[in-house]
C-alpha cells in the first residue's frame, strides 16, 4: 500500500476509493458522541488504537461543548439579559470548541491519517451525523491492497 507522506502527496497521487462513515452513538442520549467501534474497512490502513484515540478525543471535545453546568448557565442568563445581542460580540462556548475540533482534525489529518492515505471530514460538514473517513488509493496501484501501513511507496 502506498505511503503518503503528507496531504500534498495525497492530493497529487491518490484517488478516492471509498468512504467509511462512523455513526453516532446514542446510548447516552442526544449528546453528540460517535461510536468507537473500529470499522473493518480500515483494518489494513490504520492501527485500532490510533483510530479509537481520535474518536474518543472528539467525543470529549463535544462533551465539553455540550456540558450543562455553571458556565453554560452563566452564558445563558447573561445572553438572555442582553436579549441575545451579546452573541454579536462574543463567541459561544460551543463555537469555541468547534474551532478547537477543527484544528484537532486538521492536525490529525496531517500527522496520522494522510500518511496512511486517509482523510477525516469534520462532522459539522455532515450535519454532526457521521465522521466521514475518505480512503484513498495510490493511483498507480490496482484495487485495494493489504500491505502494512509502514511500507513506503515507490517514487511517484
Amino acid at each position: 500500500m502506498a505511503d503518503f507522506h503528507n496531504l500534498q502527496e495525497l492530493r497529487h497521487s491518490a484517488s478516492l476509493a471509498n468512504k467509511v462513515f462512523i455513526q453516532r452513538d446514542y446510548t447516552d442520549g442526544t449528546i453528540c458522541k460517535f461510536q468507537t467501534k473500529f470499522p473493518s474497512e480500515l483494518d489494513s490502513r490504520i492501527e485500532r488504537t490510533l483510530f479509537e484515540d481520535t474518536v474518543k478525543t472528539l467525543n470529549n471535545y463535544y462533551a465539553e461543548a455540550e456540558k450543562i453546568g455553571g458556565q453554560s448557565y452563566l452564558e445563558g442568563c447573561l445572553a438572555c439579559l442582553t436579549v441575545y445581542l451579546i452573541f454579536l460580540c462574543i463567541e459561544t462556548r460551543y463555537e469555541k470548541v468547534l474551532k478547537k475540533i477543527s484544528r484537532y482534525i486538521q492536525e490529525q489529518n496531517e500527522k496520522i491519517y494522510a500518511p496512511r492515505g486517509l482523510l477525516i471530514t469534520d462532522p459539522i460538514e455532515r450535519g454532526m451525523r457521521v465522521i466521514e473517513i475518505s480512503v484513498y488509493e495510490d493511483r498507480g496501484s490496482s484495487g485495494s491492497s493489504s500491505g502494512s501501513s509502514t511500507t513506503s511507496s515507490s517514487g511517484r
Binding site: L7, L10, R11, H12, S13, A14, S15, L16, A17, N18, K19, V20, F21, R24, Y26, T27, D28, G29, T30, A65, E66, K67, I68, S72, Y73, E75, G76, C77, A79, C80, V83, Y84, L85, F87, T92, R93, Y94, E95, L98, S102, I105, Q106, N109, L119, I120, T121, D122, I124, E125, R126, G127, M128, R129, V130, E132, S134, R139, G143
Partner: protein
C-alpha cells in the same frame, strides 16, 4: 488573464438548499414559506403596543408613574427580539445525506435485512437504540435519506428533518426545534407578561377615567380595542406558555406529547428526562447554544461566465453542490448490484454516476485528484 478579470457571481449555499424554506438577507434569515400568519402576529403585537404607547402611556405616566411606560417598552423590545429570533433562526435542520452516505446506509440496511423474497414487502427501516435503559426506535427518513436521530422529526411543511422537533408554528412562521425552542418559550412567556401588563393597565385606565371628572377624549375607544385584543390573546398565549412550561419540566417535546411517546403505557418512560424539574428546565433553557450545521452563508465557487481556471474549482463547485443536488428528484438510493460490500464499493461511484439525475453533474469518484483537493482543504480548514 481573462479568468481573473471576469467577475464571479458568488453563490452561497443557502440558494441551493433543498427543502421549502425562504431565505432573506443573503442567507442570514431563514423562515418557512407561508409567512402570512407571522405578519398577522407582528401586526397584532406592534399595533396593540403602539396604541398603548400612544394613548395610555401619557396618561399613566403622568397620573401614576413614569416607570410604567418604561417597563412596557422594555417588555415590548424583549418580545419582539424573541419573536424575531425564533422566526429567523435555523430551528436545527438536519442536512440531507450526501449520496455516499445514503448509499452506505442503504448497504447497511440491506445487510441487516438479509434476503427479501421477490414480491415480499421489505421490513420497515427502523433502528433500535438503547438510551438510558429504554429502547428507542430510530426511523428512516425517505426524503432526507438518513436515520433520524432520537427526537428528530420531519416537518412536512418545511420539508426538512429538524432536530428535537417540537412543532411547526405558523404564528412565528418557522419550525420550533432544538436551536430556537428556548427563544420560542421566552417569546410566549414575555408575550403573556406583556398582554397581562397592557390588559391590567387598560383596566386601570378605564377605572381611573370613571372617577375622572373631565372625561372627554378619544382614548376610551382605543382602550376598549386594546382590552379586546388582550383578552383574546391572553387565553391562548397564557395557556400555551403554561403548556410549554409543563413540557419543559418533563423534558418533552410537543411532538412527543401529541404522539404519546412517553405516556407511560407499557412502562415506557421518557429516557431524556433527568427526573428533576429544575434540571430539566435548566437543560432546556440554559443549555448550550447549538450551532447551525447548515452553513447557509458558505460560498459555493461558481464560474458562470469564465472558463474554468482549472478542473479544481469546477469540480469543487460540483462537490459542494452535492448536498444541493441531493434533492428528492433522484430516486431511491442506488445499489448497483446486490454483491458484497467489498465488490460494491468501487462500483458505487460509477453506479451513482450513471443513474443520477441530469442535474447532478459531478461524478462521485473524480478522476482528477486535484478535484478533491480544494474541497478537501476547504473542509479541513472549515
Amino acid at each position: 488573464m481573462s479568468a481573473v478579470m471576469i467577475s464571479r457571481k458568488v453563490t452561497r449555499k443557502w440558494e441551493k438548499l433543498p427543502g421549502k424554506n425562504t431565505f432573506c438577507c443573503d442567507g442570514r434569515v431563514m423562515m418557512a414559506r407561508q409567512k402570512g400568519v407571522f405578519y398577522l402576529t407582528l401586526f397584532l403585537i406592534v399595533g396593540t403596543c403602539s396604541l398603548f404607547f400612544a394613548f395610555e402611556c401619557p396618561y399613566l405616566a403622568v397620573h401614576l408613574s413614569p416607570a410604567i411606560p418604561v417597563f412596557a417598552v422594555l417588555l415590548f423590545v424583549f418580545v419582539m427580539a424573541m419573536l424575531l429570533r425564533t422566526s429567523f433562526s435555523d430551528p436545527g435542520v438536519l442536512p440531507r445525506a450526501l449520496p455516499e452516505e445514503a448509499n452506505f446506509i442503504e448497504m447497511e440496511i440491506e445487510a441487516a435485512n438479509g434476503n427479501v423474497l421477490a414480491g415480499q414487502r421489505p421490513p420497515p427501516r427502523i433502528k433500535n437504540v438503547q438510551i438510558n435503559n429504554q429502547i428507542v426506535k430510530l426511523k428512516y427518513c425517505y426524503t432526507c435519506k438518513i436515520f433520524r436521530p432520537p427526537r428528530a422529526s420531519h416537518c412536512s411543511i418545511c420539508d426538512n428533518c429538524v432536530d428535537r422537533f417540537d412543532h411547526h408554528c405558523p404564528w412565528v412562521g418557522n419550525c420550533v426545534g432544538k436551536r430556537n425552542y428556548r427563544y420560542f418559550y421566552l417569546f410566549t412567556l414575555s408575550l403573556s407578561l406583556l398582554t397581562i401588563y397592557i390588559f391590567a393597565f387598560d383596566i386601570v385606565h378605564v377605572v381611573l377615567h370613571i372617577f375622572d371628572i373631565f372625561v372627554v377624549s378619544l382614548t376610551p375607544r382605543c382602550t376598549v380595542l386594546e382590552v379586546l385584543v388582550c383578552f383574546f390573546t391572553l387565553w391562548s398565549v397564557v395557556g400555551l406558555t403554561g403548556f410549554h412550561t409543563y413540557l419543559i419540566s418533563l423534558n418533552q417535546t410537543t411532538n412527543e406529547d401529541i404522539k404519546g411517546s412517553w405516556s407511560g403505557k407499557n412502562r415506557v418512560q421518557n429516557p431524556y428526562s433527568h427526573k428533576n424539574i429544575i434540571k430539566n428546565c435548566c437543560e432546556v433553557l440554559c443549555g448550550p447554544t447549538y450551532p447551525s450545521v447548515l452553513d447557509r452563508r458558505g460560498v459555493m465557487l461558481e464560474d458562470s461566465s469564465s472558463p474554468a481556471p482549472s478542473d479544481a474549482s469546477a469540480a469543487s463547485t460540483n462537490k459542494n453542490s452535492n448536498p444541493v443536488s441531493q434533492t428528492t428528484k433522484s430516486s431511491a438510493p442506488l445499489i448497483p448490484n446486490e454483491h458484497t460490500p467489498d465488490e460494491a464499493k468501487p462500483g458505487i461511484g460509477a453506479g451513482q454516476k450513471s443513474a443520477s439525475s441530469p442535474k447532478e453533474e459531478k461524478p462521485l469518484s473524480p478522476t482528477s485528484p486535484n478535484a478533491i483537493a480544494p474541497a478537501v482543504i476547504k473542509e479541513s480548514t472549515h
